[in-house]
Structures are given as C-alpha cells and as structure tokens.
C-alpha cells in the first residue's frame, strides 16, 4: 500500500500556480547523493550545464565513495555530486546546502548533516525499504519517525514514477533503471526553473543510436518536471539572479584537467619537447591518466618507478634540452627533495606539480590540506632557493603551470606548483583560451661559446643571473655539471670557501630577483584599514566571500591573495603595513602566517584548520568579526 507521501507526489491534482513561491537568490547549493552506481554524476553534470550554458558560474565537486567498489546501499558506497551555482563567480563549494537529493537511506544518513535548517530534502521514498534502512544503520524509518522535522522533506516514489513514465517504451531493465536519473533531473530542473529543452536535445544527441533511450529518457524527464508541477509539497522554486559575463567560449574545467592542459599549453609555448613523468599516487595519478589520454606529439609521458625516478627522469630530460615536468603529492615531494637540490645547484629548469593532501606520511589521501608550504619552500638540505607558485582556483592551475614553466626556463631553476586535493578534484567554469592567447615563451638554447678562443663558460650568468642552457649535441658547449659545488663561471668542481659563499649568494639573488618581474600584490577592498586577510591556494574563494560579507556590513576589511610564494611580490611588506591587523587563514597550523611574521615583523594572526576539509565562509567571517570587535 502506498504511503501518504507517495500518494501526495503522484495523485494530487495540479496545484494553482499562485501557490508556488519563487526564491530569488544570488547563488544556490545543490547536492545529489546516491549509491555509487546510481549515476549522480550524470544528473549533476546536466543540471550544472543547464546553468552554465546561460553564463552562470559553477563550482562542482564529486565526493567519490571511500572504497573503490563498496557494497551498494552502504555508507561506504555513497557518492555525491555537489554544485554551487553563482552569478559570475562561485569560487567555493558554498557554506550551506539548500537542496539535497537523497536517493537511498545511506545517502540520507551520509549527507543530511550538511543540509541547512529549513533546507529542501527530496528523497526517493521507494528506496526506504527495511533492508535498505538496515544497511544504512537506521533502526527506524527517518521519513516517518520525525527525524526530518527541521527540513522541508518531500518523499517522491522515483522508481515507481519512472517505471510508469517509460512503461510503453522498449528498453532493457538496465536502461530503464538508468532513466531514473532523467526523472530526477526533470524534477530538479522544475525546482530551479531551468528550461528542459536543452536536456532533451542532449538526450537526443547522446543516445542518437538508441531510439528507445531517447524516447524513454525524454518521457521520464518530462514526468519528473510534471511531478514538480503536481506535488503540493513542492511550493518553492529557486531562481538565480541574471548575470552578465564577457563574451567567449566557456566550459567546466576540473582542477586536474586545468593542470594537464597547462602542461600541454606550456609545451606549445616553450616550443620544446616536454617529458612528463609521475609515479601513480592519488591525486597526482589522475593527472598522469589525463596526460596519457591527451597524448601530444611533443609531449612524452612516462610512468616512473617511484617519485625519485619521476623527477630524475624529468631533470635528465631538462639537461637534454626538453622541459621536464613531474606531478606528485606531498609524500612524493618529500622524496623529491634530493633531486630538487640537484636541480637547484646544477641550475636546470623543471616543473614539479605537487598536490598537497592531509599528512604527515600517508595521512588522509584524498583529503585537503596546505601543510606542505614549508616543505616546498625550505624542505631541502643546504641553501637551495627555488620558485614556488600556488594556483588560487581549480581553473587557475592552467595559468599557474604555464607561468611555472616560463619562469623555470627563463631563470634555469626548478619551480614548484603547489596545489591541493580540493583544487585538483573540483571543477569550475572557465573561459576557454584561444591559441593566440598562448604566445611563445621565447626561450632558446644552443648559445654560442661565451668566451674568447671558443671556450665555453657554463655558469656565466646573464642580467637575470641565469646561466646558459647548454644542450648535449651542441658542438663547443660540452661541459660537466652535477651535484657538487661549482666554480663560478667554469662550473668545475670547487670546494673553495669564498667561491661557495659567492655561489650560494648568486643562486639566492637569482631567485629573489624574479620578484622584479612579478605583478604586485593587489588588495580587494580599501587600500588601508583595520584588517587584511591574506591567503594562498585553495582558500581564496572562502576568504573573498567572507571579506565581501564583512565589507557589506561596513567593516574596514580587505583581502589579498598570494599566487607567488617564493619570491613574494615586492610590495608585500608595504601592503601588510597598511592594515592594523593581519589575518592568515590556512589549512595548516600557520605556515604562511609564520613566514609573514618572520619576514616582515608584522603581528599576523593565524586561523588554522586541519580537518581535511576546506574552510567554510562563516568560519573566516567569525574570525573577522572577532578581530574587529
């Protein structure tokens, strides 16, 4: 016998349009949670596309199940697609969840805590059977035991309504099950007032060779929409305010994909062969997969036997005249310490894309942290400065990797791109660059002998203190380099005390001098004031949103974001001194904060979070309020 809620959703007469309230807002956070096999990704991606195609920005992430093949219906097997739709920018996952679709009891149990009080909860009531409840650890049915009173909960018999919608279409049982995703999507589109037509078109194109699926998918999509129209309990539709975005081609780009495209674009701009290497460790392995998939004639992709080999392969390639690039994680970067030192002293270009995850050691793979900043800046023996950059968003990985490559070649130095799991695994809306946006770097090797009588000085420096890139195969430039200290100019092994002092200083001045060509640090907000919130990496979105809130309340607060962590932009000290207080939110215990205090003698305050999760806007907001009281 159908429950009361099922009857409501299915049988009630169409409600009067006047009873539907429109909730118009600047942004909206929606999550589709179900069993890993349910296809929540498909629902989420099409739902997101219904916004982004109209120029809205979206931040999306997929919360994959903890286990690779966890049993269906269990908490471990829950996967979720999360989307934050905004106007022109949606740089965070959003603080609170307005709509949660829970496709089974396990999904409800795993995600309910994130739904805001009064938030809209839509559950697949067909899945709340005794054995499913038991698998999720419920002893009573949350749909009926009063557990959901804080929320606007609506039960929809999705399996049944989907079955009815496609009853007359010939599709396999598996396809019929897959169609349920379109039912849910139809309902979501109705809720958010998105036209269903683009999705109908997408179904037609995607299943061009399967007329049954086109028919079934379209019917059940419409049935989902009708369900929204009919269900009296669904009395609110959401609408996001119109936005204006610059003309151009746009796409959603996953952080990992932005990094991979950055490597390919840098190879194009360098005009040199590139050797990309990695040892498989998540999430760097995702980048390796992408590089294997997106093969290019000028890029060789090698799976190395370990992280040490990965960087040695890349560095050997750089010695050989190619651009060596490697991808790794925090633990892998620890292994690469040794080779980075070799790259520093031999003064060869290479790029290390290091994706931080919660540590130490294996820590929590797949969880975000920013605790490898000191490792990147200082984690080597001896005085071994190098360039460290950090993308501020998932899409910014593209520009950051290209910038890293350009600087590595221009200064003959290793460069670390320090990103994190959050940025790598999330996606955001991105304006697709055109090839003319990617001009050549203008690097050249094969310099002629740089001293009289045809002899060659491999460590003679140019105006930027960079040495020549003398590539094997070039007559007249034969030289020996390596890990031992070099005599100035000649590069011969030297243990001379004064020479070592000079070489250490020259290598340091070379990297410090990069600051001369870096863009100055900009502040978002008043140029002088009571509080400056400084961040780096993936905290950018949450910081910007929190500071904007403070500014809207009339607080004297500004934000600044550091993409260049070594060297720092030239005006950092000056900027910091324009504010009474400095706040540095970080997903570590205060690494940048300590650096700013030590370097600029400012009384910066740290806001630390090490939970494997990104900052919520309200966490930073609260600290801003506290400091400005």
């Amino acid at each position: 016998m159908p429950s009361k809620q099922q009857r409501l959703a299915k049988d009630s007469a169409p409600k009067a349009a006047s009873r539907v309230v429109v909730d118009e807002r600047d942004d909206l956070v929606v999550r589709f949670a179900g069993d890993a096999g349910d296809g929540v990704n498909l629902i989420g991606e099409r739902f997101t596309a219904s916004y982004t195609a109209q120029g809205n920005a979206a931040f999306t992430c997929f919360d994959a199940p903890a286990e690779i093949r966890a049993p269906a219906g269990t908490l471990a097997g829950v996967g979720a697609f999360h989307v934050h739709i905004g106007g022109t920018q949606a740089l965070t996952q959003g603080d609170s969840l307005q709509i949660l679709f829970a496709l089974n009891p396990a999904a409800l149990r795993a995600h309910l805590a994130d739904l805001e009080p009064g938030g809209l909860l839509i559950v697949n009531s067909d899945a709340f059977l005794p054995e499913e409840l038991e698998k999720a650890g419920y002893t009573t049915n949350p749909l009926t035991d009063g557990a959901l009173v804080k929320f606007r909960a609506v039960g929809v018999p999705m399996n049944q309504l989907n079955r009815e919608a496609i009853a007359r279409v010939k599709v396999s049982p598996r396809e019929a099950e897959r169609c349920r995703n379109f039912f849910i999507l139809g309902l979501a589109l109705w809720l958010c007032d998105r036209p269903p037509e683009p999705t109908v078109k997408w179904i037609r194109e995607t299943y061009a060779r399967n007329p049954g699926m086109i028919e079934a998918g379209t019917r059940t999509l419409k049935a989902g929409w009708q369900c929204g129209e009919a269900c009296a309990e669904l009395s609110t539709r959401f609408r996001i305010r119109k936005v204006h975005v610059p003309a151009g081609r746009y796409r959603q780009v996953l952080g990992i994909d932005a990094l991979a495209l950055g490597v390919l674009a840098a190879a194009h701009q360098a005009g040199l062969p590139t050797v990309f290497t990695a040892f498989p460790a998540p999430p760097a392995s995702d980048l390796l997969h992408r590089m294997c998939e997106w093969k290019q004639p000028n890029v060789k992709v090698i799976q190395a036997e370990d992280d040490l080999a990965a960087l040695n392969l890349a560095l050997g390639a750089s010695f050989g005249g190619a651009v060596g690039v490697t991808a790794t994680t925090g633990p892998g970067l620890a292994l690469q310490t040794e080779t980075l030192g070799l790259a520093v002293i031999s003064e060869l270009p290479c790029v290390v894309i290091a994706i931080q995850r919660a540590g130490p050691a294996d820590g929590m793979p797949g969880k975000a942290e920013q605790a490898d900043l000191w490792q990147a800046l200082h984690g080597r023996n001896g005085e071994s400065p190098l360039i460290v950059l950090a993308p501020r968003s998932s899409a910014d990985g593209f520009a950051t990797v290209r910038e890293a490559s350009r600087l590595a070649l221009r200064y003959m130095t290793p460069v670390i791109v320090l990103t994190d799991t959050t940025l790598a695994r999330n996606a955001e809306t991105w304006r697709v660059p055109l090839l003319p946006d990617l001009p050549p770097f203008g690097v050249a090797h094969g310099v002629p002998p740089n001293r009289g009588a045809g002899s060659f000085l491999p460590y003679q420096r140019n105006e930027r203190l960079a040495r020549p890139w003398a590539v094997p195969g070039t007559p007249g430039l034969e030289h020996r380099t390596g890990g031992l200290e070099k005599e100035e100019l000649t590069g011969n092994v030297s243990y001379d005390p004064q020479n070592h002092q000079r070489m250490v200083e020259q290598r340091a001045r070379k990297i410090a001098g990069v600051a001369d060509e870096l863009p100055l640090l900009e502040v978002n907000g008043p140029p002088k004031g009571n509080l400056l919130v400084v961040g780096w990496g993936s905290t950018s979105g949450a910081i910007c949103a929190a500071v904007k809130r403070g500014q809207e309340q009339g607080l004297s607060v500004a934000s600044a974001h550091l993409r260049y962590l070594n060297p720092l932009p030239r005006n950092v000290g000056e900027v910091l001194r324009n504010y009474r207080r400095i706040l540095v939110p970080e997903l570590n215990t205060g690494q940048l904060c300590s650096l700013l205090r030590a370097t600029f003698l400012v009384d910066a305050v740290s806001l630390s979070k090490v939970q494997g999760q990104p900052f919520l806007v309200r966490e930073i907001d609260r600290k801003i309020q506290e400091l400005l009281q």
Partner: protein, 336 residues
Amino acid sequence: MSVGTLPLLTPGDLSSDREVRWCPGCGDFSILAQLKRVLATLGVPRENFVFVSGAGCASRLPYYLSTYGFQGSCGRAPALATGVKLASPNLDVWVVTGDGDALSVGSNHLIHALRRNVDLKILLFNNEVHGRSRGQASPTTRVGTCTKTSPEGAFETPLRPLSIALAAEASFVARTIDVDVNHLGDVLERAAAHRGAALVEVYQNCKIYNDGAFDYATDASIKAETVIHLEHGRPLLFGKDRNQGLRLNGFEPEVVTLGHGITIDDILIHDEKATEPTLAFLLSRLIGPHFPECLGVFRSVQRPTFQQLLDDSFRQGDPPSSLASLLAGDDSWVVA
C-alpha cells in the same frame, strides 16, 4: 690511411682539463683509458656523448672526459640518463656507476632502466666496497671480507649484479676486469655497438679499501684455472691446458675434466643469443673457489628499445587531438 677510416677523435681529445684524482693504483685509471680509446673509434662526434653518474669514485669519471657530463645524486643515474635519452634520442648516453651507487641506493632505477631497454651503456665498476665513503661493506662485498662496517667479516649475502641484470630482462650483459686491457676494450666495444640497455660489470681493484679482491682472476699463475672467457658458440672450457669444462648435472653446473669418458660433447656451449637467459643466469651465479668466474658477454639479444616502444605506442590508438580541441573540451558553450 683513407679519409673514410680516419677516426673523428683521438683518446686525447676526450680528456677534460681536470686533474684525475683517483688514488694511485686505482683500477679506474685503466677503465678510463680504455674507454677513451674505444669512444674515439665509434665515429660519434664528441658533443653527442653524454656521461651520467651518481656518487662514489666511479661517478667522478664524467668530470675527466671532455664530453657532456651530468653527475647526479647517489644511485639515480639510470633514471637521469633515461631522461636525457627521452629528450634527445640520438645522443650516445653512458652511465658510470659503482657497486655502492648502483646496488645500494640505485638498484630500483637500475632494474627499471634495464627492463625498459633504454638505449644506455651502463658501466658498473664493482670493487666490492664503498670506497669514496672510506671503506664500508657494499652490497657486493663477499662474506668474510673485513671492512670498517664489517670488522669481523661481512656476513650479509652479496648481490650478484649480473644475476640482477638478467632477472631485469637486460638485453646485453657482460663482465670484464680492469687490468686485462684488451678484454676490457673488447667488451666496451661490444657494449657500445649494442642497441638497447647494456650492463657491463667491471671487476675493479680498490687499492685502498679492498686491495687484491680480484687477484684470483688477475694472477697469471692461477687465472687460467679461475676464469672462463666466454665465447659465443664455443664450449665453456678453461684451465691451463683447456681440459676442464662446465657441464650440466640436472639443473646444476659442475666442473669436469676431459678424458675418462668425458668428451668435448659433454661440455656446455655458450650461447649469448639464447632467447631465454637461463644459461646466462647460470653462468652469472658461478663464483670461486668451487667454480671459475666468467668474463665476457653473457647475453646479447635484440629487442625493441624504450624509445621504439614509446614511438610505437604513440602511433597506436586514436591520433592525438589538437591542443585547441583539448582546451575547448567536449562540452563547451558560447556566451555572446
């Protein structure tokens, strides 16, 4: 002399201006001399040679050559050299390493360079001791040898570099000895001619920390009894009168003396081109005093190099997408 046979280089052209700083009497001097002699005959211009090394006495060798050289971190030379070769496949890339360098820190990289069949010539100077770090036991130090870290005699089972190389699917495996300059030169020439990964173990005397370790193989009065010179297609005979040989007894090798019913037909024939490296592995296990030790080419087979396989793999499957189409992705939209 006709122009066609005129060598591009003389051994002297291959000397750098650096003073060679090995200890007097070190076996490395002989190896360096033979190496320069062989390199000069290869018809390869000097700028196309790259010598890559790690840490230790052997790894100083690149500094004494006038070619391109890169001395990396301890043990990593096979990986570094693979990178050089990936960047520029036409270079003639050599790795110079020692037993401590290649088999302590670097064993993983060595194995993988060999299995990939990267076109590298790897010279492993085996003196069975850590020399540069002043005389500790190495992974090849024989049981009973006294060193600073084995004052009562080494007790750990030594590695056999050639057995490891064969297990790692090396396509060229050879052993020679520092003082037998003709043999050394011949083996280096063979290695240089090989396409793919070549591992050459050179028994090398460390005058200071393990002097005389290979006397049994160099002492003219006994070496005929302690060494077999491998020759492809020839029976594995040794001894002053060449009347001793190796034969198989089940899976075990045994030393036999010709006569008394044992004929030349009972003796194993060396086959460096065998598809399976079984015989080569068996020979790599032979060690004194119960067996003679083999010098020469254990294995020399052709299989595709890493570079060839990489190129083939690239050509398989779908042709590459253009950068522009990768940037646009599968699902983009235009905002006017």
